[in-house]
């Protein structure tokens, strides 16, 4: 309103335009308010978490009495003894699959072996998103002595139509079975044996005892790949005989049909849901046995919240487990978090007095725990790397959750073990009953959420707010910067009449931003090249990670110099820094918006680092009409933020916050981290190199901008 008063002759612009102009003229205040509000809202998120609830009525967890009884526990013990006996006499990793298969066969289940090779994950730029699919099939050429064997049993639902299946997974290492793995195998078997007798099944049950000698994920993902994208072009028959040749002990020597029977890959319809359970190491602390839920799949995808709800409900309210989710334990003891918690608690109590309906006053320990859990949840989602073998299922749109049982007793303690087996079996059975009840696939509850506790979540509608607040000032600031440089341009426009040179006309006109766009394009091109470099660098054999990283850095700088030599350095091209900053902010808005769709958590964390850096960046040499103190503060903070924005530094800080340990070898670790990201085809890798890095470089450009050119032009004028 105030700004409109200045323009008398012009028609009164529309309200929305006036608002925009108003915001643009106050963009510093506006961005400061928005950014602080964003950060505060982010910190406030644990207080906004809601209790989880079951959306899908068909699940009705815990309404049926579980049939898992002490007899099944005896069955599990017998199975465990059998495996111990089998491994005692064996000379390889093949006795356990054979034993498991025989036991499943006795139950009347269909059994087969699935052999797979450890996948050699390698970064291939053209197959970034598809590299997970087709390179895992066992190739017939050459003999492999080192392969894993999954043993799979299928129970056909007695009256079902076989359209859907529930998959149970128990990973174990066939080379060296630990007592806890033995316990999880026997738990899996006893549940399977119970399910082979029940009459209520409507979906087939598949029990995958995954051979985790090359990692759990590899085994499960190889099986899923064969399940969904089988290769027919290999030579299954010859391969089978070759495998027999390699280890005759697995298979009975009589009859070819028996072999073919055990090698033929069998399927059981569309997978409705999957449950991965394993028994972890004994935890010293804690009075109760615990269950830890892992749910994050690749690129921050989560299974349907209802699945976690069912597990949580049954574990806590029926079987008396303590349910955990992953947490940053370093945050639990941090004092600054406690201070923040106190502040929020006080604000919450005051707000509650204002309106008793606002239940925002979380207690301090709740807040601290919620923040630690939430930070871990955001971090895991942002990394984009699955936290367990459930991630393999999510790649095929199957909801899956990993449960890691943490027994609070010594594994030799038989009494505690049978009680644990009883409750673990009942929990698994209960979850299977609930999933079996489902008529439709999981669709009712949330897919986009973050967990602050096993039974508390923040849905997409709430966690979007901080991000939106952080992102909101960007377009305004960009517009303001571009506008202010335009007004300068207007002053220059007057010179157009005098100066007849064409190039000057272009410089003076509204097409000036093209120059900064060119700089941006060059830098983006550089970023693409840098992101492709590791593929070529990793071909160099036998070097330390730190060496790789140094080669990478040197090559990147060299490429940048070459590009500048080819296209001209931005410092000499005479690009105005305000326009450069405006262009940078525009691209970052686009990049963040896109990334928030692909992986929201990455965008959220990225925004936290990038946006203050972008907003603060201004040339060091610029003369400001300010006193000394604010000016130094401004400069120092912009330098600091730019330093923080450098990906390895950001990585170091993240690492330090998450693990609580500050490593020295940043460079090597950074290389390893990057390698890790691209091995898992995480979109975070693309984000770091296509959004974060160019933005950081542009910030550096803005910082080092030699502000003299526009001034010289002013002088010319």
């Amino acid at each position: 309103m105030a700004s409109s008063a200045t323009e008398e002759a012009k028609p009164k612009p529309r309200l929305i335009v006036r608002l925009g102009v108003f915001l643009a003229s106050h963009h510093i205040l506006f961005s400061a308010i928005c950014c602080t509000a964003g950060v505060i809202a982010l910190l406030f998120l644990p207080a906004l978490a809601k209790n989880t609830y079951l959306s899908e009525n068909a699940l009705i967890p815990g309404s049926a009495n579980t049939l898992f009884s002490t007899e099944d526990v005896l069955e599990a013990n017998r199975f465990a003894k059998g495996i111990e006996a089998a491994t005692g006499e064996s000379r390889g990793g093949t006795e356990i699959p054979k034993f498991i298969a025989q036991q499943m066969k006795n139950l009347g289940a269909e059994v087969y072996y699935h052999e797979f090779l450890p996948d050699s994950k390698c970064f291939h730029p053209l197959k970034f998103f598809t590299s997970m699919t087709n390179n895992m099939a066992v190739k017939p050429n050459g003999t492999y002595t080192n392969f894993g064997i999954n043993t799979i049993g299928i129970i056909r639902a007695p009256r079902g139509d076989g359209k859907e299946a529930i998959v149970l997974v128990t990973p174990y290492n066939s080379q060296r079975v630990q007592p806890n793995e033995l316990l999880s195998l026997s738990l899996g078997f006893s549940v399977f044996s119970l399910l082979s007798r029940v009459a209520w099944l409507s979906k087939d049950i598949v029990w995958l005892s995954a051979d985790s000698q090359f990692g759990e994920y590899t085994a499960v993902s190889a099986w899923l790949n064969q399940y969904h994208n089988p290769m027919f072009l290999s030579h299954p028959v010859t391969l089978a005989t070759k495998m027999y040749g390699a280890n005759r002990i697995i298979y009975k020597p009589d009859g070819t049909t028996e072999k073919a029977e055990l090698m033929a890959f069998k399927r059981a319809g569309t997978v409705a849901a999957a449950l991965i359970f394993k028994v972890g190491e004994t935890r010293k602390y804690g009075d109760r046995d615990s269950v830890t839920m892992y749910a994050e799949a690749s690129n921050g995808q989560m299974p349907n919240l209802d699945l976690l709800n069912v597990v949580h409900y049954l574990a806590v309210h029926r079987q008396g487990f303590r349910v955990n989710i992953e947490t940053f334990s370093s945050l639990l003891t941090s004092s600054w978090l406690k201070v923040i918690a106190e502040v929020f608690h006080n604000i919450g109590t005051v707000l509650r007095k204002v309106n008793p309906d606002w239940k925002l006053d979380v207690t301090v320990p709740d807040y601290v725990e919620g923040t630690a859990n939430l930070a871990s949840s955001i971090y895991n989602q942002a990394l984009g790397i699955p936290t367990g073998s459930h991630g393999a299922f999510r790649d095929y749109q199957v909801d899956a959750v990993s449960l890691e049982f943490g027994p609070a007793f010594h594994l030799r303690n038989e009494n505690a073990k049978s009680s644990f087996l009883l409750r673990g079996g009942r929990l698994t059975e209960g979850v299977v009953i609930s999933i079996n009840n489902l008529l439709e696939k999981f669709h009712q509850s949330f897919f986009l959420y973050m967990l602050t506790a096993p039974s508390k979540f923040i849905s997409v509608g709430v966690y979007m707010i901080p991000f939106a607040l952080l992102l909101a000032p960007l377009p305004i600031v960009a517009a303001a910067l571009a506008g202010s440089s335009k007004t300068k341009g207007k002053l220059l426009d007057e010179c157009k009449t005098k100066g007849s040179a064409d190039d000057l006309q272009i410089e003076c006109g509204s097409w000036k931003w093209l120059k900064s766009a060119r700089v941006l394009l060059v830098i983006q091109f550089w970023a693409v090249l840098v992101s492709l470099l590791p593929y070529y660098i990793s071909q160099i054999p036998g070097a330390m990670p730190i060496q790789y990283a140094v080669i990478w850095a040197v090559l990147s700088i060299a490429i940048l110099i070459i590009l500048y030599a080819m296209f001209g350095s931005p410092f000499h091209a005479g690009v105005e820094w305000k326009l450069l900053k405006a262009t940078m902010i525009t691209t970052i808005t686009l990049g963040m918006g896109l990334m928030s769709i692909i992986n929201f958590a990455t965008a959220q964390l990225g925004a936290l680092i990038l946006i203050p850096m972008c907003l603060f960046s201004r040339p060091l040499r610029e003369q400001l009409e300010m006193t000394f103190l604010p000016r130094t503060i401004l400069l120092v903070s912009s330098i600091l933020l730019t330093l923080l924005g450098f990906p390895p530094v950001a990585f170091l800080i993240m690492n330090g916050l998450s693990k609580g340990s500050w490593t020295v070898d940043i460079v090597g670790d950074f290389w390893l981290w990057m390698e890790f990201l691209w091995e898992w085809s995480s979109a975070t890798y693309l984000y770091v190199f296509l959004v974060h890095l160019p933005c950081w470089l542009l910030c550096i450009h803005v910082l080092l901008h030699p502000c003299h050119q526009p001034e010289s032009k002013m002088k010319q004028e």
Partner: protein, 638 residues
């Protein structure tokens, strides 16, 4: 359970007299026979197959009156000119690996889950589709099932030779998702003259027959000028004999065959026949493999031998007539000899633990989906050899086995038939090498399902073959989604036929007067068939639970669009400027002065101080009002 109360003796006698008189009056009489076949299965289960045949002459003499023949069916045949019809309701899957795939039972009575209906009409080709639609509605009413969903042209197809050879007068439709329950059994039983009150049907104790692993009830209707109308009503169930008496079976119990009797299977005993039935018999079948094992032990396969003993001495023993050394044998019981005081309870007691297997079909056919995601996928049909051919005819490499594939695919699964790929033992084969004959009816959106009929020639020595077809997933209109759309959509079972393998079994006819219809159907020419699994395709589904959100969002967008469009259209900029100038001219001196003053301060590049001054004032005002409001609220609350 007690048997149902029987009518008074004299009334029954009167009825019988009446019946005999009526039969004598008519030249050809209506007949009803009831039979039951029991068979132990290798995986500790038992098969029970009920067979009821009712026949009536198709003569005008009978008029509209029938004695034992169901009138509803007769009217149906007359109305729709049906020459053949088969309707089956099935729950569960036939286990081709364990329960056999090469005997009349599996080829004729193993059906796909849900409802399957086919009918051949004796009508001009143009009228058939309309008649089919009427027929589905009639059957739907008769059997309390949603067969009327087969009315839509997207639900049925007209196979030419892949299903059954015909001249275009056959229609085929399947509803894989139809649930089968007692409400379908009751109308089916209503067609029987004694219902389930007497005779063999009285064994149909609902809790036990619906507890089984496979349940298929079927109605087969044939009508011809020479034989009249014949209905074969069959019910095939696979049950777990209830001999463990509540004890749970554990894997430690081993693989012992349970000994069972009719009482264990049905919780009923058989006390006499249905009085109007011409014959009433119970058979107990022993598989070829078992008979072979008895033969090896050196004894005759009589009802009591080294391996097993039957609970009741059979009236007759029938041996299959074929030239091979091992034949299955049937033990026959005539129900007329038993009554309430002396009920029939056929059973088998095993003396030795025994493992045997049923003869499989030449190939195990499996079908599965490949790919993931909502966009595309492929259907794969895999054949796994059971080496039956080598066992039957000896191994020879240059021969081949014919297999016919018939598959109907709903329109929203858009199959690209050109993408057919065939892999035999891991090698890709040219289609012309394997496919002898192919007939494709491509699907039309919302009109016609796609159907594929294909005659394959597979080499004998082959171990495994896979056919794959790619498809795209279509989009449905919001009305076309079923209530449980998020479950996914079904692709009905495919049918694989092996025309060179015939599973018919013939038995010696000792009694020409009392021909057994059950054994007759066994004797009929029946090629080996097997149905594949039903597939579940997840399609993209809209979020039905959020219509409100959708409506509000779309309305907002529309309002914004139309608002700005109207604004742009009816705005007259010249007029506005004139108005503004007028207003500016009218302005007082003071505001003009202020404006001038401000202009002199000069337009600052960003964050101009005077505007911020004004705005801080404004801000202060807003903050003040807010603080006042909050304090007021706080005070009034506390």
């Amino acid at each position: 359970m007690a048997p149902p109360p029987s009518p008074p003796r004299n009334l029954r006698r009167l009825l019988l007299l009446l019946l005999v008189a009526a039969a004598a009056a008519a030249g050809e009489e209506e007949e009803f026979t009831e039979e039951l076949l029991l068979r132990p299965l290798p995986d500790r289960k038992a098969l029970a197959h009920f067979h009821f045949r009712t026949s009536a002459p198709l003569s005008a003499a009978a008029g509209r009156h029938h004695h034992v023949f169901p009138k509803a069916i007769a009217q149906l045949v007359q109305q729709f000119h049906i020459s053949d019809l088969e309707l089956s309701f099935t729950q569960g899957r036939w286990n081709y690996e364990q329960w056999g795939g090469y005997d009349p039972m599996s080829t004729n009575y193993a059906k796909p889950p849900g409802v399957e209906l086919w009918a051949a009409f004796d009508l001009p080709l143009g009228e058939i589709d309309a008649t089919w639609k009427n027929l589905t509605h009639t059957l739907s009413g008769l059997f309390c099932a949603s067969i009327n969903f087969l009315e839509s042209s997207t639900a049925f197809s007209a196979p030419r030779w892949g299903f059954k050879l015909n001249e275009g007068n056959l229609r085929y439709g399947a509803l894989p998702r139809e649930a089968v329950c007692t409400e379908n059994l009751t109308p089916w039983l209503k067609l029987l003259p004694c219902r389930d009150k007497a005779g063999i049907a009285s064994l149909l104790f609902r809790p036990s027959i619906y507890k089984g692993y496979y349940h298929s009830q079927k109605l087969k209707l044939t009508s011809s000028q020479s034989f009249g109308i014949v209905i074969d009503q069959t019910l095939t169930v696979v049950l777990q004999p209830d001999t463990f008496r509540g004890k749970q079976l554990h894997s430690t119990d081993g693989q012992l065959q349970p000994s069972w009797s009719m009482k264990d299977l049905f919780h009923r005993k058989l006390s006499g026949k249905c009085l109007v039935s011409k014959s009433s018999r119970v058979f107990l079948e022993i598989e070829k493999d078992v008979v072979d094992k008895i033969g090896k032990s050196g004894t005759e396969a009589s009802w009591t031998n080294e391996l097993f003993v039957l609970s009741t001495a059979p009236d007759r023993m029938l041996k299959e007539l074929n030239n091979m050394d091992a034949q299955s044998s049937l033990y026959e019981y005539d129900v007329t000899k038993y009554n309430n005081d002396k009920p029939l309870d056929v059973g088998i007691t095993w003396k030795l633990p025994l493992i045997w297997s049923c003869t499989p079909a030449p190939y195990h056919a499996n079908r599965f989906l490949m790919g993931s995601g909502n966009e595309r996928g492929s259907i794969a049909l895999s054949f796994r050899s059971t080496n039956l051919h080598n066992q039957l005819f000896g191994s020879s490499d240059d021969c081949s086995i014919k297999a016919v594939v018939f598959q109907v695919v709903p329109w929203y699964v858009r199959v690209y038939y050109h993408s057919l790929q065939i892999f035999i033992d891991g090698n890709s084969k040219a289609i012309s090498d394997v496919v002898d004959k192919i007939h494709v009816t491509p699907s039309e959106d919302k009109l016609l399902p796609g159907s594929l009929e294909m005659l394959l020639r597979l080499p004998c020595g082959m171990q495994a073959a896979t056919l794959s077809l790619d498809f795209d997933k279509g989009f449905l209109h919001i009305d076309e989604y079923p209530p449980d759309a998020n479950q996914g959509f079904d692709i009905p079972s495919a049918l694989v036929t092996f025309p060179e393998f015939n599973s018919s079994r013939s038995y010696p006819e000792t009694d020409t007067l009392l021909v057994s219809p059950l054994l007759q159907t066994f004797k009929e020419d029946s090629v080996v068939k097997s149905y594949t699994e039903v597939l579940l395709v997840p399609l993209t589904t809209p979020d039905f639970s959020m219509p409100y959100n959708v409506i509000t969002f779309t309305c907002t967008v529309l309002a914004l669009y139309f608002g700005s469009l109207l604004n742009a259209l009816r705005r007259r900029i010249g007029e506005e400027e004139r108005e503004l100038k007028k207003a500016a001219a009218k302005r007082g001196l003071i505001p003009l002065l202020i404006a001038k003053l401000r202009g002199k301060v000069g337009p600052p590049p960003q964050g101009s101080s005077p505007t911020s001054l004004v705005s801080t004032k404004l801000l202060l005002k807003v903050v003040f009002v807010a603080v006042v409001a909050i304090t007021f609220h706080y005070l009034s609350n506390s």
